[in-house]
Amino acid sequence: MATLKHTARRFWPRRHADDSLSIAKPPARLRRVEPQIEIPPNDPIVAYFLSAPGAIELDKLHLDSPALRDLRAAGVALAIPLVSQGELVGLLNLGPRLSEQDYSPDDRRLLNTLATQAAPAVRVAQLVRQQQAEARARERIEQELRIARIIQQTLLPKELPQIAGWGVSAYYQPARAVGGDFYDFLPFEDGRLGLVIGDVTDKGVPAALVMATTRSILRTAAQHGDSPGMVLERANDLLCPDIPPKMFVTCLYAILDPSSGRLHYANAGHDLPYHSHDSVAAELRATGMPLGLMPGMRYEEKETVLAPGDVLLLYSDGLVEAHSPTRDMYGFPRLMAQVGTHAGTGALIEFLLNDLTAFTGPGWEQEDDVTLVTVSRTESEPSPMTNSTGYISLADEPVPEGWRLLDRWTVPSAPGNERKALARVAEAVIDQGLTVKRIEQLKTAVAEATMNAMEHGNHYQPDLPVELMVLASDDAIAVHIRDQGGGRPLPQTVEPDLEAKLAERQTARGWGLFLIKHLVDEMRVTTEPTHHTVELIVYREEAERGNSPA
């Protein structure tokens, strides 16, 4: 047995994605550590090793091969290719013999036998390692998808808006490789409802993170109730600096005024919504570039009116880009036809999902997220007074203990009628010893609360009056104002920002609740399933209390 100058150094080859081999560093217990030698698959030495099996003395090779130079530089004198199933899987490399003699034929036979037995074992080891790496990669992808799903589902609305006379439904089904779909509802204090639907390019965690950012930006941009075009413009400018390259967001933003059915909308490159009216579906077109592509964009604003019986459909491309078994696409024409065909306002989403299932057939693997949001206006708005839903008139309520009834009456819900309410309140409290200033403050507060009740509570329906009741106690005057549009709490007052309004970053409106809060000593709001009652209280000032009648 020949004595080798060095322990037979095992250069464990590693196979790369580009099919090159690298000779890994030997384990640390060996005496010498050689640099890792990369052998690209197109190096001439690879073809040579495959064509000339057996031990090869590198000094005798005449090849223009970078790998050969590297091997020689690393001190390799004899290389024995490890070939498995016609593939070079590694090399057994030896330095010069310690005796400084050439390797003998016996040495070579021994090494060839060793290589023949080692090659398949090395190949098996490589395959095992490759499979382990692939399993880890799969697990990482699954983990990322789980995170993406959690991000997305956490940020989607947990509850649907409840608006008298309207139905709002939503459906969201993520694809296996989660896309970046999202939708959102933004209730405003004046009773309007913001509607958002969007889709981020890309999938998985990057899309989910951009979706989360966009949702926050939109909520911030929309918080003052500005027009849809302005909101998209601001959101785009905020998103542009931070969005990763090659990503963008399509998004439709609309504001619905439930009292009138008016829908203002602007579109940042999202699929056009459909408006179904009298069983005919129409696209709602408004032009605008997707968010995040370039700053300074302008967004066209449009308006339509949703009449009783109408339905609005917002959706993402997961539905229209679904494929049948014959690779036909569901497409916009089919969706538009289905929206028009669907009769009634009940369950358009279910109707469309059934049609999608019929189109794709069983066993369809969903290609992209499917998101659907519908807003439907019921045939006629329910009237709590006429359908006996439990509305209790102020006239039927006992006067609270410690209070005296000064007056009680109703005002029909019509623009301008708040003047009638404030005039009658002034008459009711004229002899209550309040100063002129206090009476003026109370009148304005009553006018604003009555306007809110007529507009946001009763939607200016003439058959739904606003009820008022004026009470006096030893300490205070109270005015109760009741509408018939309960069921959801009144939104919190947001302090109007005049500077923002002057800069047209905030709507000029939104002063009503603010004025009330500043003009009376207390404002209490109670919400019942059928009505809201606003209670305004002004305390008698000490100086006047003694002058007031008993």
Partner: protein
């Protein structure tokens, strides 16, 4: 109670001062009248536009919003918008809403014009 729709009369007083004399109610119905009067007042490119509220007996939150819109237009065009003739109650409303921080409020037209004269 009889309601009085807003009426507006525009007149020139000092050079480069336009006065909009308002009478009636500043509410949601007043938008068209108010905007038309403002456009007329702007026609001669005045430095100052004075809103005279002496004969206005009611301003509601929608009316406040209309005034905010006029003020925004005036500021964009580098014009001064002034107010006069407001009752004590509406002076308080202008103070609460901070409108008084952005448009000077005078007790009457004479005081407003005196303050508008170029130095």
């Amino acid at each position: 109670m009889a309601t009085r729709p807003l009426e507006a009369r525009v007149r020139q007083s000092l050079p480069r001062v336009a006065i909009i004399e308002l009478s009636g109610e500043v509410n949601g119905f007043a938008e068209e009248t108010l905007n038309a009067a403002y456009a007329e007042a702007e026609r001669d490119n005045p430095d100052v536009i004075l809103l005279n509220f002496s004969d206005v007996d009611y301003i509601n939150s929608t009316g406040i919003a209309l005034i905010v819109t006029l003020l925004a237009h005036a500021r964009k065009a580098h014009r001064r918008l002034l107010a006069c003739g407001l009752s004590d109650h509406y002076v308080e409303i202008f103070t609460i809403t901070r409108l008084a921080d952005f448009m000077r409020v005078f007790p009457d037209e004479a005081t407003a014009l005196a303050a508008s004269k170029p130095n």
